[in-house]
């Protein structure tokens, strides 16, 4: 479609709600900080195959088909945020877009309102990856969703450690596994697949790409009646991994992302085989206590977990601010054990377990602790303590 289209011209009619929904997705992908102005825009392309909305920040790219009437084929790039704001402000109903090449703008009309938006340089907008047929794995969006949610919080946000900003995705036979770590904690979630895969893949994928794929998949209105065997069940995601990119095809909407270079840490050997203590908790109860006491663990101060016979006391103290403590009865029968954790990391682990019951496994004050989901299985959260001063 793009090769034959003429740049700077376009004409189409489209429902406002559809266009807005597409623009909201595209605006999330468009670059917010860039020296190439065109990347802060969305490209609208119209051709014989229909209308497509495109956006990229050079790491992530999106092609989103839109239903509408093409009156004149072509491509234009419009500033993403402004375009979205304008469309949001329009009343429901049909919107007409028409490029005026001489003015280098696009006229947007709806009812009696008219907007003329200047276009951005279409030449600077790159050609985006297409969906491809290579080594395709099809996964239900809900499986993808359920898996990424359990690990995403452990991914690093530190740009100086790019490898750790990704989520390691392993899809093989009957299992989808995702692993994320920022070196202070590590999450592993395995989800069983109802339909085993014939192809598999392993890739280090930017966490944002997975989150975006799930978000788009949930919004996809699939049409299972189409194309016989090739048809996808509603909310399925076709995933193709190529050399340095991963392409998600969500019923025609194509999200592509660069893969993260570098070796993901060999995480299995970091998980201790045996622990000295194994304690069961009601997740909601423990999470509430942690949340309360964390209020007094400010400025990166730790939560202190003191285990003694029959009880756990969780406490926190911030100099010049105050302190807090709360005890809960537990089935602990060992020596006094005091271990410190970053309050956010601990809460992330309890909440990510996503189960009514969790099991907390511990060795000593300076060795990693492990949180597992109580009944469901398939979830591990390794958390490194904060060394408590003597």
């Amino acid at each position: 479609m793009s090769s034959t289209s003429e740049k700077g011209t376009i004409g189409l009619k489209i429902e406002r709600d559809l266009l807005l929904e597409g623009l909201q997705s595209a605006t999330r992908i468009a670059s917010s900080k860039t020296s190439i102005t065109a990347l802060s825009g969305v490209q609208l392309a119209a051709g014989p195959e229909g209308i497509e909305l495109r956006a990229t920040d050079l790491e992530l790219s999106l092609r989103l088909p839109l239903a509408g009437e093409v009156t004149s084929p072509g491509e234009v790039v419009l500033p993403a945020r402004l375009f979205t704001d304008v469309v949001r402000a329009l009343p429901a109903g049909q919107v007409t877009l028409k490029a005026r090449a001489s003015q280098q703008d696009v006229e947007i009309t709806s009812g009696s309102a008219t907007f003329d938006l200047k276009t951005l340089r279409a030449e600077d907008f790159p050609t985006l990856p297409q969906s491809s047929g290579d080594s395709v794995v099809v996964l239900p969006a809900e499986v993808l969703d359920a898996t990424i949610r359990r690990v995403e919080r452990a991914a690093s946000t530190d740009p100086s450690r790019p490898v750790l900003t990704g989520v390691l995705v392993q899809a093989e036979a009957g299992t989808l596994r995702m692993v994320a770590t920022d070196s202070y904690r590590l999450s592993v979630k395995e989800t069983k697949l109802e339909t085993p895969l014939t192809n598999g893949f392993e890739a280090n994928v930017p966490a944002r790409a997975l989150q975006e794929a799930v978000r788009l998949a949930k919004g996809t209105k699939g049409d299972p009646a189409a194309d016989g065997e090739e048809a996808l069940a509603k909310g399925s995601v076709r995933i193709a991994v190529q050399e340095n990119q991963i392409v998600f095809d969500l019923d025609g909407t194509v999200l592509a992302s660069r893969l993260i270079d570098g070796q993901f840490p060999k995480y299995k050997e970091l998980i201790p085989d045996e622990f000295d203590h194994e304690l069961k908790f009601n997740s909601a109860e423990l999470s509430d206590v942690v949340r309360r006491i964390s209020l007094l663990a400010q400025r990166t101060k730790p939560l202190t977990l003191s285990f003694e016979k029959g009880s756990l006391t969780i406490s926190a103290e911030t100099p010049d601010i105050g302190e807090a403590r709360e005890s809960i009865p537990i089935n602990y029968d060992g020596e006094l054990l005091e271990i410190g954790f970053n309050p956010d990391y601990l809460r992330d682990g309890i909440e990510s377990a996503g189960d009514e019951e969790i099991v907390l496994k511990l060795l000593t004050a300076n060795r990693p602790g492990l949180i597992e989901s109580g009944s469901e299985g398939g979830f591990l959260y390794l958390i490194m303590p904060i060394r408590l001063g003597s």
């Binding site: 100086s160 070196s183 840490p265 970091l270 100099p319 990693p368 490194m384 060394r387 408590l388 001063g389």
Partner: protein
């Protein structure tokens, strides 16, 4: 509990106090040389340079007699000797200067409570609220003279910037008290180089914008400055030329950073070699951090090119660190990202943003992978 009216009154008095800020800057005249002259009175009246003897040594201080030949601080000694061949070169005696410096600082603190030592030979004092700030500083100068034999120049103004420039205006034995307006008038025709923070490179870039004097800069368009220097430095440069400065005098002398740097005997070029040179600095720094029980959240590097242009780069982390692996990894990344494109004369590594020293050492442990 205070009423609304009280709070307003507090607020107002706070503002009035602020408007009347009085800051002094005291700078010892030709400090190192003066210390040497006390020990070797026979050198009095001669051009004296305090400097090392290596091929790359620079002048740390020159006596006023040597300055008449154009010799200045930070000038390569070889060049200084070409300008003034009869100069007497005295090797620096760090410990002696430190002892003398401590004596001087004590004398200043004796007369004014709020003192920030800014170097061995200079200090800022916050005189706000004192009834006779000038008289206090004259007593300080007098005491320094009688107790140590050293001469000092003093600048007093509404902020650090005015005080600093004023102390330099009539050296040696200067004593200059200026308001912000007086400073603007007095230095209107001076080169922009007069302003601390404007180096030779910045001056060059300013001249390209047809900005030559302090006055030119104070009236320059913010837009033009922002286009050339960015949104932080651009407006900042103009405010310097207007002698605006609200940096407080920091009396807290607790260590907040530690660094190690080295000047190469031969300039180093190429990222590989620089990385190699960085490793021992990191090691030494981290050992010192451990010894002092310090951990910091900011890791930085310093690079000085052979033309003395100096750059620093830093990254602030989520947790404070002191271990060799992390400090080394981040320092290397900063070096890689900086991409030195010329021969490097000096390389430094720094860890800053120490967490409160009085608190218990608490360390977020990491999983053991690279």
């Amino acid at each position: 509990m205070s009423t609304g009216a009280d709070e307003r009154a507090d607020f107002r008095s706070g503002r009035i106090e602020n408007l009347n800020r009085t800051i002094a800057h005291l700078d010892l005249d030709a400090f190192f040389v003066s210390v040497e002259l006390q020990r070797r009175p026979e050198l009095k009246g001669l051009p004296v340079i305090v400097s090392g003897t290596g091929p790359r040594s620079v002048v740390t201080t020159a006596s006023y007699e040597a300055r008449k030949f154009g010799v200045g601080s930070a000038m390569p000694t070889a060049k200084a000797l070409r300008l003034c061949p009869e100069a007497v070169v005295v090797p620096p005696d760090g410990p002696a200067y430190k002892r003398m410096s401590a004596t001087v600082m004590d004398l200043i603190r004796h007369h004014v409570p709020q003192v920030e030592q800014a170097g061995l030979d200079e200090a800022y004092a916050d005189l706000t609220g004192m009834l006779a700030p000038s008289a206090a500083m004259r007593r300080v100068v007098h005491d320094i003279r009688t107790e140590t034999g050293l001469h000092a120049s003093v600048g007093i103004g509404p902020n650090r910037l005015v005080a600093k420039v004023a102390s330099d205006a009539e050296k040696p034995d200067g004593f200059v008290f200026l308001s912000q307006e007086q400073a603007r008038m007095r230095f209107a025709d001076a080169s922009t180089r007069l302003l601390p923070g404007v180096g030779p490179k910045t001056r060059e870039r300013l001249e390209r914008l047809q900005i030559y004097t302090v006055d030119d800069l104070s009236e320059a368009s913010v837009q033009a400055l922002t286009d050339e220097f960015g949104s932080r430095q651009g407006p900042w440069l103009r405010s310097r030329a207007r002698f605006e400065d609200d940096t407080p005098v920091q009396t807290d002398r607790e260590a907040v950073s530690e660094s190690r740097e080295t000047t190469f005997s031969v300039d180093v070029e190429g990222i590989g070699e620089l990385r190699e040179k960085m490793a021992p600095l990191v090691l030494e720094l981290c050992n010192a951090l451990e010894t002092h029980g310090h951990r910091g959240r900011t890791v930085g590097i310093k690079i000085r090119y052979s033309d003395f242009e100096t750059h620093t780069r830093a990254r602030t982390l989520e947790h404070s660190v002191s271990d060799r692996e992390t400090v080394g990894r981040i320092a290397r990344q900063l070096l890689d990202e900086f991409q030195p494109d010329r021969p490097v004369r000096l390389l430094g590594v720094r860890v800053a943003g120490f967490s409160g020293a009085k608190e218990k050492p608490r360390e977020q442990l990491s999983l053991p992978f690279g």
